[in-house]
């Protein structure tokens, strides 16, 4: 008796039609636009690093000033091209970065890109385990806190989250070291693996730099156990910092979506409270959560510098602080620029994942 199709409402029907026309074109277009947006981001960061570092003068004087005579210094400066106009150096620097060349370190006289390749794997491995800890601890506990909102478990978890966030990673690291490595002696104090294990992995023909993978390749369970026991404390120290942020984020967003009409609507259909949190509140809350997780990658990398220094974990962060001590600003500039690129790329990937999860973008 009623007409089947209701009157089309212009703005709604219009936008829906537009989205449907491309059938997934919405997402494709979004990816392209979002990808184009990371170009200015990387450009700005890389340029910023260059100009900021150069306001202090040329890197050679910074690194070797006082140790060489003025003549020797001038010679080194002109040999490295630092006496040319700054704009030309800038253009050259941009061009080099474009081709993956980040310059040569002053203190060790190695190409920065080689340093990046050698130590990048260690940082990525640490970041991976830390993220794992953050996800495993932060997300379920955030949902638990939201479910028990304002009750005792929630209060406990919130204090836990704030503590995670309030404890500097290096202090957490020091405490873990003190308790587990020095007093209880159950875990190693520092490093990525013991010397014996490291030797075995060095001999591998196809070594990747990711010790977990290399340890599996050796086929020796003792090596794997050694590598994993080394990763526990740094990953916990760095992961808990991020876990605190995740916990808070998940709790707030899930509580937010729990107040929406569609959760009430599902409740009115007889859906259980647990399922309301797990399915109805969590999934929509996930989209903003993922976007913020992208921003946490920056925090994680910043924390990695501190964690690696604490645990003598030979990664980019550890090297960065070594180069900083040596005042080798070419190397510092290279590492910082690379981290900028990693951050921009991972934010891009995270945004795409969020878009794929959101059916409003997908269809």
């Amino acid at each position: 008796m009623t007409t089947a199709v209701s009157t089309p409402r212009p703005p709604l029907a219009g936008s829906a039609a537009k989205k449907k026309r491309g059938s997934g074109g919405g997402l494709g277009r979004y990816i392209v636009v979002r990808f184009l947006l990371i170009i200015p981001t990387i450009f700005i960061l890389v340029s910023m690093v260059f100009w900021l570092m150069r306001t202090t003068g040329d890197p050679i004087t910074a690194a070797l000033g006082g140790r060489l005579t003025p003549d020797q210094l001038a010679e080194r400066i002109s040999a490295a091209g630092y006496d040319r106009p700054i704009l030309i150096q800038y253009a050259e620097y941009l061009g080099q970065i474009f081709t993956g060349n980040f310059g040569t370190t002053i203190s060790t006289n190695r190409p920065v890109s080689e340093v990046l390749v050698t130590y990048g794997a260690a940082t990525l491995e640490l970041a991976f385990y830390a993220l794992l800890v953050a996800f495993i601890v932060g997300i379920p506990l955030g949902m638990v806190a939201a479910y028990w909102r304002d009750k005792a478990p929630d209060a406990f978890l919130r204090i836990f989250a704030i503590l995670c966030y309030a404890t500097p990673v290096f202090f957490a690291g020091l405490l873990f070291k003190l308790v587990f490595a020095v007093w209880l002696k159950v875990l190693p104090v520092a490093g990525r693996a013991s010397t014996g294990a490291e030797l075995q992995m060095q001999l591998l023909p196809g070594k990747t730099g990711f010790y977990t993978i290399d340890a599996i390749q050796t086929g020796n369970p003792a090596v794997l156990q050694d590598v994993l026991s080394h990763v526990v404390l740094p990953a916990l120290a760095l992961g808990l910092l991020t876990a605190g942020v995740f916990l808070r984020l998940v709790r707030t967003n899930v509580i937010g979506t729990l107040g929406t009409d569609y959760v009430d609507a599902a409740r009115s259909r007889g859906v259980s409270e647990f399922r309301l949190v797990r399915k109805h509140a969590y999934r929509p809350a996930l989209i903003p959560i993922i976007t913020v997780i992208g921003l946490q990658i920056a925090l994680l990398l910043g924390g990695a510098v501190l964690t690696e220094t604490t645990f003598e974990w030979k990664g980019l962060g550890f090297m960065l602080s070594e180069f900083l001590q040596a005042r080798d600003f070419v190397a510092v500039q290279g590492i910082v620029a690379l981290l900028a690129v990693i951050v921009a790329l991972s934010n891009f990937i995270v945004d795409i994942v969020a878009a794929i999860i959101d059916p409003r973008v997908r269809y």
Binding site: Y262, A265, G270, Y363
Partner: protein, 576 residues
């Protein structure tokens, strides 16, 4: 715990009501302390009956509705009894005393709910089929395939075309009216004895509202479901309800069958409420009287606003083509004349108002305001003319700076245009203005959040009239107000218009409201002007099919008359 529960009757008693509420009281914890929202409400709903609960803001009608499903937030405490029987009368429960698990069993199978805003009642990240099936599978073990078959069937029955395909659609892929159909399908799928519909058509356009009301009627007639209809709209009540309960300040003040209530309301409040409902045809006499009183020279005067083939397009994102909000519209407003602009959501009516005030840029065509061409608009040149324009916004909640007092807000135009040095110096004039809009002077020292919606809209009028403008633009000034408050604001508007003699553009989605005030009425549809003329012309003998449908869709607060109108609308639809 079980001894708190009332004895569960196992006898089947088909004549027993499906819902019996007795002496229900609900209190809320708020920032301002405990507040009693529902007080001693006693109601019952028979099988297959539509009971409408009518009331204005704060009457407690929604709280009553949510109590039936046990959906009150944790800040609420309730007492009394809400006895809900299953469809077959096999069991009955006191909802207030049920445990969480028992409540879940009742929800969906014995009683279900239709929400006000269909776009927020559906989870955006799951398909509608998934959401319907979830409800089915929450009650007993049903295989996925069976649940899916059931979901498709129910979608088809509520009038969703191609249900086999649409079952896999996400909510955003449906139009507003279709979303509400999906929400109703979810409520119907387990064939509960009772559906609670909370303002089910308030968020919808009036033409869509008529279709949803038809669907709800089918729920009663074809599915035999009883409905508790919560609404503030008397027209909707007259269209659908068998029996009506009027709520005021948490109490039921009158309860009667629909014909009796509309025919001879007993309670004073009910009488006032019914009298405040605007109806089409109210303004025709007044408009004619105003037209009579006008001199010959009036028609020769230059119009205040002239639109000629006006086109406004919003820019698109990511180089997509923009959205054309207004497309080739032409009209004129003469001095002292009220033009009513009517249209549904997305018709471009608000955009036109904003363009006249210089808030939105004109894309093409010509728009002349007080002799100033708005196409190629420059703020600097237009600024002196701004003192000649007043604007009343739709949302009374956000139209005042929350950090300034009402007097400071009303003085703003006087200070900006140099008529006063400071808000303090303008106070005498502000007091005059507040008096003109019938607000006590002392209200000038209050902050906006301390005023009610109606009071704020009056202060908004005072601000708009501070400089005695030649033109007033009112964008849905009463659509956020209760009907009795709306009546008073409309009356005030008419009075002020007589007194100050400004020309006005009155924008509304409600034909009956526009009719009260307008000298002429223009109807917009999808950005185009489909009809324009005096109220008598447009409402008496509409020429355009859309106007006719719009007019026929508007429910009137009279059950008998509405039944006739309903048939006319069905004929109109069939003819299209």
């Amino acid at each position: 715990m079980s001894d708190i529960r009332p004895p569960v009757s196992t006898r089947s008693d088909p004549s027993a009501p499906v819902l019996r509420i007795s002496d229900l009281g609900v209190s809320f914890a708020t920032d301002a302390g405990a507040v009693r929202a529902v007080d001693g409400v006693t109601l019952s709903v028979r099988r297959g009956e539509v009971l409408a609960i009518v009331g204005e803001s704060g009457s407690g009608k929604t709280v009553t509705a949510k109590t039936i499903l046990g959906l009150l937030p944790e800040t609420a405490v309730s007492n009394g009894a809400v006895i809900l029987s299953s469809r077959d009368g096999a069991s009955s429960n006191n909802v207030i005393a049920l445990s969480g698990k028992q409540l879940r069993q009742v929800r969906g199978s014995d009683v279900s709910m239709v929400f006000q805003e269909p776009s927020t009642a559906l989870n955006p990240v799951y398909t509608v089929g998934w959401q319907i099936m979830e409800g089915i599978r929450a009650h007993g073990t049903v295989s996925r395939a069976d649940a899916r078959t059931k979901a498709i069937e129910i979608l088809g029955r509520v009038g969703i075309p191609d249900p086999e395909v649409r079952v896999n659609y996400y909510p955003h892929q449906f139009s507003g009216g279709q979303k509400q159909r999906v929400v109703i399908a979810m409520a119907l799928v387990l064939e509960p004895g009772l559906i609670v519909a909370d303002e089910p058509t308030t968020a919808l356009d009036v033409t869509v509202q008529a279709e949803i009301l038809d669907l709800l009627r089918r729920c009663r007639d074809e599915f035999g479901t009883a409905i508790v209809l919560i609404t503030h709209n008397m027209g909707v009540v007259a269209d659908l309800a068998d029996r009506v309960a009027v709520m005021y300040q948490g109490k039921v003040v009158e309860e009667a069958d629909a014909a009796t209530l509309f025919g001879s309301p007993q309670n004073e409040y009910t009488q006032k409420l019914l009298a405040a409902v605007p109806y089409v045809g109210q303004g025709v006499v007044r408009a004619a009287a105003r037209a009579e009183a006008r001199t010959r020279e009036w028609s020769a005067q230059a119009p205040v606003v002239v639109a000629d083939n006006l086109r406004i397009q919003y820019p698109g994102r990511f180089a997509r083509p923009g959205f054309v909000a207004v497309d080739g519209v032409s009209f004129a407003i003469r001095p002292g004349e009220v033009l009513g602009l009517v249209g549904e959501s997305g018709s471009g009516k608000t955009t036109i108002g904003r363009a006249i005030a210089g808030l939105t840029r004109v894309t093409d065509g010509s728009l002349s305001v007080l002799g100033h061409e708005m196409n190629g608009f420059s703020e600097r040149k237009f600024k002196p003319l701004r003192s000649q324009i007043g604007f009343v916004f739709q949302d009374p909640a956000s139209s005042f700076n929350p950090l300034l007092t009402i007097a400071e807000c009303v003085a703003e135009p006087l200070v900006v245009h140099g008529r006063a040095d400071s808000p303090r110096a303008a106070r005498a004039r502000v007091d005059e203005l507040l008096e003109a809009v019938q607000l006590p002077r002392a209200f000038g020292d209050r902050y906006p959040h301390e005023l009610s919606g109606g009071q704020r809209q009056r202060a908004s009028l005072a601000r708009a009239l501070a400089l005695e403008p030649a033109l007033l633009i009112a964008d849905e000034p009463t659509s956020a107000l209760d009907v009795s408050v709306q009546a008073r604001v409309l009356e005030l508007f008419a009075e002020l218009q007589r007194e100050f003699g400004f020309a006005a553009l009155f924008i509304s989605h409600d034909l009956a409201v526009v009719d009260i005030l307008a000298d002429r009425i223009a109807v917009l549809y999808h950005g185009r002007l489909v009809e324009e003329g005096t109220g008598a012309e447009v409402l008496g003998a509409p020429a355009d099919p859309y106007t006719r449908r719009l007019l026929a869709s508007l429910p009137v607060p009279d059950p008998a008359a509405q039944a006739i109108r309903r048939e006319e609308l069905a004929k109109l639809r069939a003819a299209e």
